[in-house]
């Protein structure tokens, strides 16, 4: 009778078994965190910067031993600035990938559709980009934001526009999405409280390229300032076309314009524009300096606000996971307990609603760069 199993077969079984064991072991030692962001399309400039910041943070965390011995694995899903896709991505991450926490999204529309799913599933959501105030004012216990919201940004802009630039009549042109419409609404409220008039406010849809008719209607009102509340691509086109139409008034904008994507597309027309800048590279000290160097080394470009806030978001999540592990409390409770932190974006903190507490600074475009200014 022949032997069916011999030494080579035994070796094969051992090899296969070891590989399966190794695979299972590694999988069980990983902490999966989901990330939803536009990694393609017209708003990818935000998502890609955020991804760079997150990856840099993950590398640093894993190099230091991970979180409680577990390696951080970031699971990215591209939502292409589509809130339906963002919702589907959230379903994928929570119910199929079983992530422990979600970071994202970028546009407030998308983030709102993400947060409703996270809240029901009781999976913490941390956004480092979306600024619509509603996101942390709906009484949701599982939503957190580590970025100054539009209320803070609009107030800072309006105060500067009235008190420093002495602008009395500011026209508004804004995206019709929830980021743009709420930003414009909040600015109008803050401006009115400071005695500034809003003679005209017009909305545009994402993807528009010809803003001349809207700008003409604004010019007829003869405002002494123009507020643009939109994302980089549309804002850049608006600024260019406004200057081409001979509109020379000061231009103001929210942090949707605070990206090199805006500068690249707007070109010289962006000079002098005053925008909110949640990330001031000169304020964070040694931690920020090291981050900027590491970022430059890793990606060959300067870190912007979205990269820096992405870095801080993952570090905040890591802190929450560590605290949860040490104290035996849910990650949500640990995240809610972070009332103060020192990030690469400077000192910050989360309030009782999960919202960022720090004020925002302003930058002016000079020689093609954002230069911090006093608000």
């Amino acid at each position: 009778m022949k032997h069916v199993f011999g030494f080579p077969q035994l070796v094969a079984l051992l090899v296969i078994g070891s590989l399966i064991w190794a695979g299972l072991g590694t999988g069980g030692n990983t902490l999966k965190i989901g990330v939803i962001a536009p990694l393609s399309g017209s708003t990818a400039v935000y998502g890609l910067a955020m991804r760079n910041g997150l990856n840099l943070a993950a590398t640093a965390i894993n190099a230091a031993g991970g979180i409680g011995g577990r390696t951080v694995e970031l699971v990215y899903l591209d939502e292409s600035n589509d809130k339906l896709v963002a919702a589907e991505a959230t379903r994928e991450l929570i119910y199929r990938q079983n992530v422990a926490l979600v970071i994202g999204a970028v546009s407030s529309d998308a983030t709102m559709n993400v947060q409703r799913i996270c809240e029901r599933a009781r999976v913490p959501l941390l956004t480092s980009v979306s600024t619509n105030p509603f996101i942390t004012r709906v009484g949701f216990r599982y939503t957190f934001r580590c970025l100054s919201d539009d209320t803070v940004q609009a107030e800072s802009l309006a105060r500067t526009a009235v008190r420093r630039l002495n602008l009395r009549r500011v026209a508004i042109i804004h995206d019709s999405n929830k980021y743009g419409s709420m930003g414009a609404r909040v600015y109008a409220e803050k401006a009115a409280a400071l005695g500034q008039a809003i003679p005209v406010s017009v909305a545009f849809d994402s993807g528009m390229t010809n803003f001349s008719p809207l700008l003409e209607s604004i010019r007829q009102q003869n405002p002494d300032g123009l507020l643009v509340w939109g994302l980089a691509r549309e804002s850049a086109l608006i600024v260019r076309q406004a200057r081409e139409l001979g509109m020379r008034m000061p231009i103001l904008g929210g942090d949707g314009m605070a990206t090199t994507g805006f500068l690249d597309l707007a070109g010289p027309a962006a000079e002098g524009a005053l925008v909110t800048m949640p990330f001031n590279p000169t304020r964070g000290g040694e931690v920020t300096r090291r981050f900027l160097e590491d970022y430059q080394r890793a990606y060959g470009t300067e870190a912007d606000s979205f990269a820096a806030h992405g870095y801080d978001a993952l570090q905040l999540a890591a802190t929450a996971f560590r605290t949860a592990g040490e104290r035996g409390i849910p990650v949500r409770e640990a995240l809610a307990g972070i009332s103060a932190y020192q990030g690469v974006t400077g000192p910050g903190g989360l309030d009782a609603t999960g919202n960022e507490t720090r004020p925002v600074e302003l930058s002016v475009v000079k020689a093609g760069r954002f230069v911090p200014t006093e608000s």
Binding site: V4, V15, L84, A87, E88, R122, F134, G139
Partner: protein, 411 residues
């Protein structure tokens, strides 16, 4: 010649098939574990939803003339907790552990710890169905049965919403809409079948039509079994936004709660006609918040909307809204003794209204509130869903389901 077993030792010391197989298995495993390119680590999303850009030609058939508003509590036989042994008696529950209170008020008749509850439905046959984060659960004959994808009992998680059309149970989920007549076999409907989107958030049965609120607008199922869809695009902006958190029917009007307010469709007109729609939002009216988390219509026709900033009762008759009258709301929030501003669930019961909040269950009677918390026997403080069958209020929280005997509570 006797055929050799593939793993048999080659008498000549060479078995090419074996070594080739080993290399193949090794390569396969290696590529699965280590060889994934970075891009492949990103899971693919589901295929895009079906194109829903066709103009809608159907309107839902109107309810019979002078028909009363369908009321589930009229069609559903009484589910008196005393009829069947409770799933867990209050006494049993009181002794389940040190973290749980030791005595339970007598008004709690049924207590069933379950995964976080999304919806509850007392069915016509006396069973109570529960949609949970893990799937589906059934309470019948004093037993609770959980059905999840893990055990093969129900194919999706979470189950988000429930409705019963008198013949079949409908279950909404993020994986589509399911129908069952026996609780064991589930027929699935998706965007490919005409649903507005696979992610179903809410269901409502109005006595003739099944209404489905999805991530991308509403669908309704006609008596012939076809689904019609109304999205923001199809309605030319009449339906104010995509996500639909709640749907209710009042006479000719379909009430669609979304995150830009309450969009009301006069169903006598095609959905593509913008004048068939009126949206009430927080910027033009005193609606507490634009996000409509739950809707309910009382026997008297009062419209209640649960929002993150308060529970709102519409004071203005709907027909007047379509003639330009500004909507007025009565708002219940913390300033009126609600435990939180956010309200997730609402059920009118006669002259009373019950509301589910993150910090308790609230009864509003004559404008005054009474709040029940875990100290009063709630399984958890966050009341996410409510349902009524005669004399019994079913309450869903992140801790499970329980039934409150309204008579006993009033005593």
């Amino acid at each position: 010649m006797t055929p050799k077993h593939p793993l048999a030792r080659d008498p000549n010391g060479s078995n090419l098939a074996f070594w080739a197989g080993l290399i193949l298995v090794f390569t396969l495993l290696y590529s699965m574990r280590f060889g994934r390119p970075e891009q492949a680590a990103t899971p693919q999303l589901l295929p895009p939803v079906a194109n829903t850009s066709q103009p809608i030609v159907m309107t839902p058939p109107p309810l019979p003339p002078n028909a009363p508003i369908p009321r589930s509590e009229e069609r559903i036989p009484v589910v008196t907790p005393g009829d069947k042994p409770p799933v867990v008696t209050p006494a049993q529950f009181a002794g389940t552990g040190p973290s749980v209170m030791r005595s339970i008020p007598a008004w709690w008749q049924v207590v069933a710890p379950l995964p976080a509850v999304r919806a509850i439905l007392p069915a016509p046959d006396g069973q109570v169905w529960v949609a949970t984060e893990d799937g589906l659960a059934r309470i019948a004959a004093g037993q609770v049965t959980q059905m999840t994808p893990r055990d093969g009992g129900f194919p999706a998680r979470p189950a988000t919403s429930l409705a019963h059309d008198g013949a079949a149970l409908w279950i909404g989920s993020y994986e589509g809409l399911f129908r069952t007549t026996d609780g064991r076999r589930f027929e699935r409907f998706t965007a490919a079948d005409g649903l507005a989107h696979d992610m179903v958030w809410t269901l409502a049965w109005d006595g003739a039509i099944l209404w489905i609120g999805t991530q991308n607008g509403i669908s309704f199922r006609l008596p012939d079994g076809r689904f019609e869809t109304v999205t923001k695009r199809i309605s030319n902006g009449g339906l104010a936004d995509l996500w639909i958190g709640a749907v209710a029917r009042l006479g000719f009007w379909a009430l669609c709660g979304n995150d830009d307010g309450l969009s009301i469709w006069d169903t006598r007109q095609p959905a593509a006609n913008p004048t068939a729609w009126h949206t009430i939002d927080m910027f033009a009216t005193n609606l507490a918040h634009n996000w409509i988390l739950s809707l309910a219509v009382s026997k008297a026709g009062a419209v209640w909307a649960a929002t993150p900033a308060g529970l709102c009762r519409l004071r203005t008759p709907i027909e007047q809204l379509f003639t330009g009258t500004r909507a007025e709301w009565e708002v219940f929030n913390r300033s009126r003794s609600m435990p939180t501003d956010r309200v997730d669930a609402v059920v009118p019961v006669g002259e009373d209204v019950w509301a589910g909040c993150p910090e308790g269950l609230v009864r509003i009677r004559g404008g005054l509130t009474r709040v029940l918390t875990p100290a009063d026997g709630l399984l958890a403080s966050d009341v996410t869903s409510l349902a009524l069958s005669s004399g019994t209020l079913w309450v869903g929280t992140s801790g499970g389901v329980q039934a409150l005997a309204l008579d006993a509570f009033d005593r």
